[in-house]
Amino acid sequence: MVISKHILGSFDEALSALRNDLLMMAGLAERSLDRAIKGLLERDDDLCANAIADDEEIDQLEKQIDQDGMEVLLRFHPVASDLRRVISAIRLSPNVERVGDQATNIAKRARKLNRHPPLPEVQMLVPMQAHAMSMFKDSINAYVRENVELANSVCGRDKQLDEMNRDANKKLTTRMVENTEQLRGYFNLLMISRALERVGDHAQNIAEDAVYAAAAEDIRHKGVAVSA
């Protein structure tokens, strides 16, 4: 749908600033996650350090988006699709921020792993990382493009990631018993697997907010009704 401009130009500017901050935040979180995983797979401490450093800017943007959103609510009293966009942006940014936190967690674990000989089991996280990253990217795309179909598809993919995490947990726990020398290393991989699974959860939350923004439909907690 082509969205025409508001009569009040400053309203468009404020909404645009909110959207741009959110896009920048999502871009940074994506980059941070990418760097953290590369830092793990390529055993590159610099990439891990960069991933950790990104988190501060992501946190700042979360606060900025809250402030932008409050300002739009206060100054322009948005309704209908404008209101949904603002509410979604305010709800969505903490999830993006937590994706940044997960990237930091992964980077910190990767640095610990990099101090020891490589573990071949790290490869079992590659498909998980690809799955979690694609969910996160698609959730942001769904929000930006107001694509309900894409958002719904993200929600449907979370179970697969949960299954991958369970599978990784099982294998890594077995390894921990079999090879107690590498207990610490396997534990770090386990935690990274869990962080990737959490990225999927945040992507699902973002996708749910994308559906609300685009279609005014609350798909969270299906089966739980809200009294009128």
Partner: protein, 282 residues
């Protein structure tokens, strides 16, 4: 069914006035409608101001009419108590039923309709030569009620309902025009309530008031809807969102969209509604 042709004094004598607000709407089915408007069209001379509007107005609820200037919202409101007929060369087609009774039947007296369906205007208009007390009961007096005890009781009751009693009870003999703008508007609401209408129509009742006076009127509207059906025209979108249960959007004389207020303001179905309420019109 209340007889529209029966003067207020006779209804009082029969004890009918006290029962007016208790008229069972639509035989008790939910959601009950006070008004059923069908295919309403209104012309001022050659100009068609309202085009084929059909809608039911819910009982004991606030219905807000919104839309840009000239969209026909005030004409529609006035047609609900036949006040638009005061404008020369006016013609109306369609039907308006008030609790099932045809307001436009040839046997119905428009002045009686206006008593059953009261109106509060944009600018407060207390009678300048009358005291506060006289302003409130003038409608009853003009309808032949002279029982002073009854008038005093109704005076206090109406002023209490209009949330004005505590502020003016010691000044009832002062001119109505001595009150502040917000108080004058509540005085006009008390005057409307004094004849115990079924419906209160409000045409931008807060547009000339400051935020405090506006809040008092809005609070009053929320309280009054438990006893009356209220239809209000407003240009203030936030006000419509705050006070109304249902919202109707008019554009170029047509009813574009009508629904539950929260739905209209979060997820309107029509593009024109979305463009208007989000400020993208024009």
């Amino acid at each position: 069914m209340e007889n529209l042709l029966m003067p207020t004094s006779e209804r009082i004598a029969e004890g009918g006035v006290e029962q007016l607000a208790e008229v069972p709407p639509n035989g008790g089915t939910a959601p009950a409608s006070t008004f059923q408007v069908k295919n309403m069209s209104i012309w001022y001379g050659e100009k068609r101001a309202i085009q084929d509007v059909t809608m039911d107005i819910a009982t004991n609820a606030v219905t807000a009419i919104i839309g840009p200037s000239g969209c026909g919202k005030s004409t529609f409101l006035r047609a609900l108590n036949r006040m638009h007929e005061l404008t020369p060369r006016t013609r109306m087609e369609g039907t308006v039923l008030l609790n099932g009774e045809d307001l436009y039947s040839s046997t119905v007296d428009p002045t009686v309709v206006r008593r059953r369906v009261g109106m509060v205007f944009q600018k407060s208009n207390p009678f300048p030569t009358m005291t506060i007390g006289e302003n409130v009961v003038i409608g009853l007096r003009l309808n032949g009620v002279h029982d002073q005890k009854f008038l005093n009781e109704r005076l206090e009751k109406s002023l209490r309902m209009a949330a004005l009693w505590d502020e003016v009870k010691d000044d009832l003999n002062k001119p109505g025009t001595s009150l502040s703008g917000g108080q004058q508007q509540r005085l006009c609401i008390a005057r409307t309530l004094a004849v115990e209408p079924d419906v209160v129509l409000m045409d931008e009742p807060c547009s000339a008031l400051d935020p405090i006076a506006t809040a008092k009127i809005e609070e009053l509207i929320s309280e009054l809807k438990t006893k009356y059906t209220i239809v209000t025209v407003t240009h203030n979108m936030q006000q419509a969102g705050r006070i109304s249960d249902f919202t109707a959007f008019f554009y170029l004389g047509r009813l574009v969209e009508f629904g539950v207020t929260t739905s209209i303001f979060t997820n309107p179905k029509e593009r024109q509604t979305e463009d208007y309420i989000t400020g993208r019109f024009g």
